[in-house]
Symmetry: C2
């Protein structure tokens, strides 16, 4: 371990005091859960701490407690949900704040003594390949890691911090990066932080790490077969770009190790003048679609936003607008910001038809376009008919205004856009003053 | 023959008086040529009329006389040229105007009694495949057609007029259409004007008409093996677009026969206001390169101009300007006019690099672009590195001004552009008032 890594560890490793507090809190909550169950005559209940808190692989300041309450698989689902929520709600009475979460079934989220606590009911199945609900897998993951991670915790911490700083940590659909479990598996597989980085520096898409023989073919860039379930790729959520970004960061770090690789760089918000300066340097066209952020969880929201983004990009490109890039900012509002070569394009469009010698098609094309009164010209070029036709949309904003509802938007996004949206062009994107948005512009422009 | 075709024929067929005048003139010039040769003791000379005048396939008003003076193949080339020019010059003494022409060897062009007369020396070879100079072939063509064209002259006239009106007649490098000889061969092969049109309506590139078995493979769209030389494609000069244009016109005419197909449509010159109106409708960007027309014959000039056109188009497209089309006008000046989506493009350019996992290339790309101070941003997209770099040229005029000499221009064109050129943008193309140029704009815009 490099001295700089030691230094990073000192910074990110929880103190003994912090650990004791976590253990005490977890123990208390688990004991209380059992008491509540007993009192309510809920039998055959087991309570366990899972996740990084249980494995000593949590970074200082991240106070997540995942407490799983497991039931026998014979218990009907409604009962499992009822019991799970009951215990959760009872526990929550001691919390500062709580709400109901929903994954495959409902669970309780609360803030207790500074900890983000999830009380999750699950089935205690005999084998991870026979799970009833997705969360049933977690205890198996927990056991697999706990049995192997001893002595490697510091390496996990370094890798997690490296990924957090680089923006590749987190398997939720907003990030599409590496999950905590995946990080731990990588350390177990390669043996150390350094080994993971050296291996990843030469990863290629279709990279396989087979704790078990896979039972099917995968197409994801990284394929880590779950040691507790041969039918599952632990890295299924990892996107190609996050995969590549991690590879890229590994190479850079190995070439010139530096503490900055463990520090998340937050862009500073740009002032109006700074944004204008950036735009004047690029001389491209900026257009933005703004609407109220749907009130749904991120794992539902982000796939819809990405779908909208792809769909709007495709719409623009199909209508001959030349896309440079687009980005999404989410705050109170969603802003889809799009950079184009030019938001205004020529009216005349060269529409290429079939080769003249493909008689039937050629005649149909000729018939169609020479009968139109709006055709600028009709001629032959490189053996093909060409009709010069007027474009329907010559500005990106008129295109968006007229065709946004024909894009694939996702349910909640579509609804909110229908309610109200705004299209901002050029300097009008400065109407939004939000600091986080201005920081986003710093990255985008 | 359709009544309308009869009517066209009446218009384009030379009158008896016109024919008599042509015959008389040709006879006189041929007799004089023999006299001159005799007087100068040039022996073993034969004189003959060739071309459409000799075959009764000329259109009223086109007064071309091609008089070939043939010598024995044993005569040295210098002697052939000397004798040929001597006879030509002597004949020219009676002409209103004359000059020296140059194909493979020099010949005499003159205007005599309203006729454009060429006095061309050639070798009297025994077989067209054993010619010494390209013109030696002509007497063979002449004989082949004369022996077969009797009774088909009217069909040739119609086809020639149809091609002239449609812009597909003329095998010179400016036009790249059908030669007179090719037109006659088509009539002989298919049997009539109507048959040619019906056949051509379903022509496809690689169309073969084999008067003889070809001795090699051809790649031209139309392949008519010369009946006097199996090693030659009579339609070698025909471009794909002229081939297609002819096919297109044949189909249209057969669908709705109309006298207008035999009348050349000359576009009317546009006024300033009309040009501006057209430009405002198209909302594209127009830019033009103007320079003095090199004083070389068209068959040398046009290939250079087309080469320049292709090269300038490629330059613009390589630098991300989106070409709609370009055109060339030739008068006192040459004007290369170019229509672009936009003559101004964004400064920022997305330069896509290799996939991140192609380690060596990826590292070189990263090294190169992250060390540049002018890079706007460096990131990963779709698994590839992207460097946002500033474009060197953001206006088409600055690009042309700086890079025109790096284009393939051809010798004389390059020289004249070096001497002086001008780049006209937008409405500045109206600086040129020439009527023919304004008619060209009518076709272009």
């Amino acid at each position: 371990m490099l001295p700089l890594e030691q230094k990073v560890l000192e910074r990110i490793k929880p103190s003994l005091k912090e650990k004791e507090k976590l253990e005490k809190t977890a123990d208390y909550l688990m004991r209380r859960a059992i008491q509540i169950a007993k009192k309510e005559r809920i039998t055959d209940v087991k309570v366990q701490l899972v996740g990084s808190a249980a494995r000593n692989t949590w970074i200082t300041g991240t106070h997540d407690l995942d407490i799983f309450i497991s039931f026998d698989p014979s218990l009907p689902r409604e009962k499992l949900e009822e019991y799970g929520l009951f215990i959760g709600h009872e526990l929550a009475k001691e919390s500062r704040f709580w709400e109901e979460g929903y994954a495959e079934h409902p669970y309780t989220k609360m803030n207790y003594a500074g900890f983000d606590v999830d009380i999750v009911p699950c089935y205690r199945v005999t084998d991870a390949s026979r799970i009833i609900s997705a969360v049933d897998r977690t205890p198996f993951h927990n056991r697999f890691i706990k049995e192997r991670i001893k002595g490697l915790e510091d390496d996990v911490l370094l890798l997690k911090q490296f990924m957090k700083a680089g923006g590749t940590y987190g398997s939720e659909l907003k990030t599409r990066g590496f999950s905590g479990y995946l990080t731990e598996l990588l350390i177990i597989h390669y043996g150390s932080f350094k080994n993971v980085l050296e291996a990843a520096a030469v990863w290629e898409p279709n990279q396989k790490i087979e704790f078990l023989k896979p039972t099917k073919e995968y197409s994801e860039p990284l394929q880590v077969i779950d040691p507790t379930d041969a039918g599952r790729n632990v890295a299924a959520a990892l996107s190609l770009d996050k995969f590549c970004l991690f590879v890229d960061l590994c190479r850079q770090y190995l070439k010139e190790p530096n503490e900055s690789f463990f520090v998340r760089k937050n862009p500073v918000p740009l002032s109006d003048e700074q944004v204008i300066q950036r735009m004047n340097k690029r001389t491209s066209s900026i257009i933005a679609l703004k609407f109220h952020t749907p009130e749904v969880v991120e794992d539902i929201l982000y796939p819809q936003l990405f779908k909208m983004q792809k769909s709007v990009e495709a719409l623009l490109e199909k209508q001959d607008f030349q896309l440079i890039k687009s980005g999404i900012w989410v705050g109170k509002d969603v802003v889809l910001i799009i950079e184009l070569e030019n938001s205004q394009i020529a009216t005349v469009k060269k529409h290429r038809g079939p080769p003249v010698w493909v008689k039937q098609h050629a005649e149909m094309f000729r018939e169609k376009y020479t009968n139109r009164t709006d055709v600028f010209a009709f001629y032959i070029e490189d053996g093909k008919y060409v009709a010069e036709v007027p474009r329907k949309y010559t500005t990106a904003s008129s295109l968006l205004e007229n065709e946004i509802y024909n894009c694939s938007l996702g349910k909640q996004v579509a609804k909110n856009i229908k309610d109200e949206y705004e299209i901002l062009s050029g300097k009008n994107i400065l109407q939004i003053k939000d600091n986080d948005y201005r920081a986003f512009l710093n990255e985008f422009l």
